[in-house]
Point group: D2
Chain length 342, copies 4
């Protein structure tokens, strides 16, 4: 199977590396990035022969069966549409798009052409969250009543990235909205958001928040709460807790080692893994494995277009809630968008 | 110092036992309970000579310097007023009253007569939360940004208790509203509540919730979230987490022992302490110690009337938020009450 | 019940305090200490009326039913004998005596007069080791194969104490020899000791060791290993691990609080409880409760004379092993002592 | 660089897989195994073209620069000698040989021909033990006083393997003897062993032990204790603790996930990783990386012949100690072997 990779930034290179290491039956049939320097460095580092001048040429290469879209979010929709028209399967980084209505258009086209379409919510493939979901499904904690997600980055991304990213809800908490749907197999109905800028200063603090707590009510009556911070000085803090009628499960952080040291200062461990590429290294490999498996064996993908759509809608509701200081029903987002479009 | 104890239920008896065990300089100068059987059993068990027929006689006993009010909530206000008029110092179980405006009246009288008045938020005296506050004050985690409180009871109290209790917010989460104020030294501005009945059935489920998540925004810009459940099958779950600009602190549960057992089934500990009287045994002793100290040395009490008032106001805001599906500002509660009174 | 207390050092005062706090049915009928200053301070602090000029007068007081012997080890044997002759029950601090043959004489007299005789191996009453023994007895880990005890003091006692104490094996590791017998319900057959002075300097390092690892083989085929250090800078380190055919149990340390703090330096807890009086506070109370119970209800004591004897024999074997660089059978100690006596 | 692999059992295949996955600059220039079926399956599974009929032909292939010896222990010595004569570098699985004097002969030849020679003590490359050694070297716990290693297999290997393996000390505890030398950078002087058969039955129990505790005194005065069991029902138990003048470090077990589940039965984690290939997966890759690095850059290997020799000598001393019920000095083994040879 030949795949094309569009976008050779951090994530694009990670996927390329994983393909070369773990999936010998997959060949890199082409790469493209709008940044020529990044493109050439990547091609050179990984000895990729097929370097394309533009995305369209790559999309026109009939030998390429599937596309990995790792470029900036504003390019996703067009690339997906074109790939679908060429009947190429697509693995697309999150979010599909910042605008819910654009996503809905994209998904219609994906559906029309019947391609495999997987969205890059890699955390679903983390060994801990997989095990957590299994235990929930086995009924070990009974019916879930409360879900709590802690998700804190070690440090904020660069300012220009943040401004293009769609903001904390659509760039960062979107992973947690997806985690909620993944773990509880339900849909969100109501969203309330509190957020503030505690780390950003100046213009940044005007344009986005860096600290937020969002509560959500689901169709299955469970209540969820997600807290995010852009700056956790002790490392990447990624924990999930599910409380149910028969018990409670916590997925704790991952550490660089298992050492516990006792001195006059107390008993301590090294800080949790600092970087998301360390913490989720294996999950990036596993999501690709599942995508290639779905393409090869013509099976359903594990994170489909609807899974990519819903977190953006929830993020949109969170944004409205933050502005309007009230809880927002998810169906309001739909209605509002239809009205605006009408 | 002679004290009178009104109310010989579970908490009243606990206070009596602690006085006899740990405070030899304090004498039980009188006890009263409306339930004659409970009164006699208590007097007999603890060999208390001075058993009163009614509260007024006890209040009139000039030898009694301070009063412990452990009777049902609806009796608190009257008892406090009368004690104040007799210039007796008062230690009163939480909440002072279910109605904010009643509390405000009570506090005026307390202030007029200048008595010592301490409210029974015992958890402030728990060794873990004391240590937590110390570490925050030492600046170990920098400026607090997010506070998370988990507070889950092992099983619901009897139905008739719940119905008289003022509901989950005023009976149970009130402790957590106080913990927030204690740990962060700030006031709440905005409250949003999600709650539901997952454990209660029938009429109970109509009248109260048993599962709730409340988010709060504070004057110091920190965001707080509290989750409560009336039924945590694995025991009493009492955890607090404070995330700040320089770190994170978690106060974890207390366990009956330090054993860790490994078998083919995994690695396990015994469940956390099941009952609040086990978990908070020492904190009940310490709050009395501080009260007696304040009375003896004419010093400020450690949990004053205003500390007793604010959590009820927050609970009132949470109730409104739950009904109105929007966040409620704490000053709205004040305004609303004034309007209703006017 | 009236008790006499001989020895008003740290442990004597602790027992007096516990009696006054927790055992209202027990009266302090007399105290004596060879150190007049300590005696008077203790009597004054605890308002004890009956202060004796010498041990004999106290022993002659017919109203005293039981004796707590908390004086220095070299006085134990004589005091026990005299108490037994007066038919007073005895609670004696460990060790009974430093010399095995003296212990055997004492135990004969105890047996002849039929008094209750309990030895102060307080750790048997620690909640963790109690729970550990219960789990072993329930068969949770199957048949024990390996027992590991870690026992490290935060800092060495004063030099003159160490020199009088009988050395590390008879003063400190004796507790662990007892723990082994308590947990496994077996007898030791073979002992091998490695020890060295790593903390002591000068004369002290010539006269005693401060760091030791002792391995022991038991009649029930289990193998045990105990490590001791006189100086654990991070606090009192008291852990036990039992490995068996069906699992493993670890009794971990006790901490001053449950806090876990994460900063750029890592994730840390406060150090374990530093002092044995903090770590074993409750166990000192419980051993007295059991002794008073045995006296009151004429039941067998929970730590009898034989339990007091065996650890001294094991310590004697460890001393021989250390000198002779070979493992020593416990029956050799008996034989040797008989020969020396013959 | 072309390498040959002799032995296509479990470890041989693991090394081949790691080479193919992680070391693209290393080519498998040949494989051989005395078991033709295993050889063919391996060649087929990994698409290895160069399958040899016998070891000598492989050794004669001039294109092969280095040899991985993964065959049974009794073949190691001859293979190393022949490889050395052909000036091929050697990576050899542990132990070099069961007989100390054979090892000494092998090492002379290795030295004479100046080849790189690394012994497969993979655990040295485990991230936890690496971090542990770093912390010791940084002086975090001061001078080491006591080292404790727990090493328990989940289940015994097949009986015929055990009988050929040299027994528990030379097959299993040898890893721990190496760990001691690695972590403390010292040599063992004195060894005392207690061991017994608790799991084996019948003939097996006559021929080998399955449970052992060995204490060792080192040149640097530290005391070490190692406990082994062939059957730890809760999984692979691999822990190390180093106690020093300024603190204590524990390397704890690795788990399949970070989940902690609370139910009425208690609070539990899944059992530790069960299998050594899971626990030490990365360390097997890292030891190869270091070997290839040493060969490529003509640098010293990280585990040299002397490191391969010493654990066998310690194991030999442990065997003597077990039989003679006394501690055995390591230099006695040397002397004894010389006498036997003379």
């Amino acid at each position: 199977m030949k795949v094309g990779v569009i976008g050779t930034g951090r994530i694009g290179r990670l996927h390329i590396e994983n393909i070369l290491l773990y999936f010998p039956f997959v060949k890199i049939g082409g790469v493209f990035d709008i940044n020529k320097k990044s493109l050439q460095q990547t091609a050179s580092r990984f000895k990729i022969a097929h370097v394309f001048d533009n995305a369209d040429t790559l999309l026109n290469d009939a030998s390429i069966k599937a596309l990995l879209i790792c470029s900036s979010t504003d390019t996703h929709a067009q690339l997906i549409k074109k790939a679908a028209e060429k009947k190429k399967h697509v693995f697309c980084e999150k979010p599909i798009d910042l605008h819910p209505q654009v996503i809905d258009e994209v998904l219609k086209i994906v559906h029309r052409y019947g391609i495999k379409f997987q969205v890059g919510f890699n955390r679903r493939f983390d060994r801990n969250f997989q095990a957590l979901k299994n235990k929930i499904n086995q009924g070990i904690i009974g019916t879930p009543h409360i879900l709590k997600i802690t998700s804190r980055d070690p440090e904020p991304p660069p300012g220009d990235y943040i401004l293009r990213s769609g903001g904390l809800f659509k760039d960062m908490m979107i992973h947690d909205f997806d985690m909620l749907r993944f773990l509880l197999d339900t849909e969100v109905e109501e969203v309330f958001a509190l957020g503030t800028a505690r780390i950003y200063t100046g213009e940044m603090a005007q344009k986005d928040i860096d600290t937020a707590v969002v509560t959500l009510r689901c169709k299955n009556a469970s209540i969820c709460v997600i807290d995010n911070s852009r700056q956790s000085v002790y490392g990447y803090d990624q924990r999930v807790e599910v409380f149910g009628s028969r018990g409670n499960i916590v997925a704790r952080n991952e550490y660089p080692n298992t050492l516990q040291t006792s001195t006059v200062d107390g008993v301590w461990n090294d800080a949790p893994l600092y970087f998301f590429l360390d913490r989720y290294r294996d999950s990036y490999r596993e999501e690709l494995r599942m995508f290639f498996h779905a393409v090869e064996h013509d099976q359903a993908v594990s994170v489909n277009g609807y899974d990519g759509r819903q977190p953006v809608y929830i993020a949109q509701a969170a944004l409205q809630s933050l502005t309007q200081k009230r809880s927002v029903m998810l169906h309001e987002v739909d209605t509002l968008l239809q009205k605006n479009n009408g």
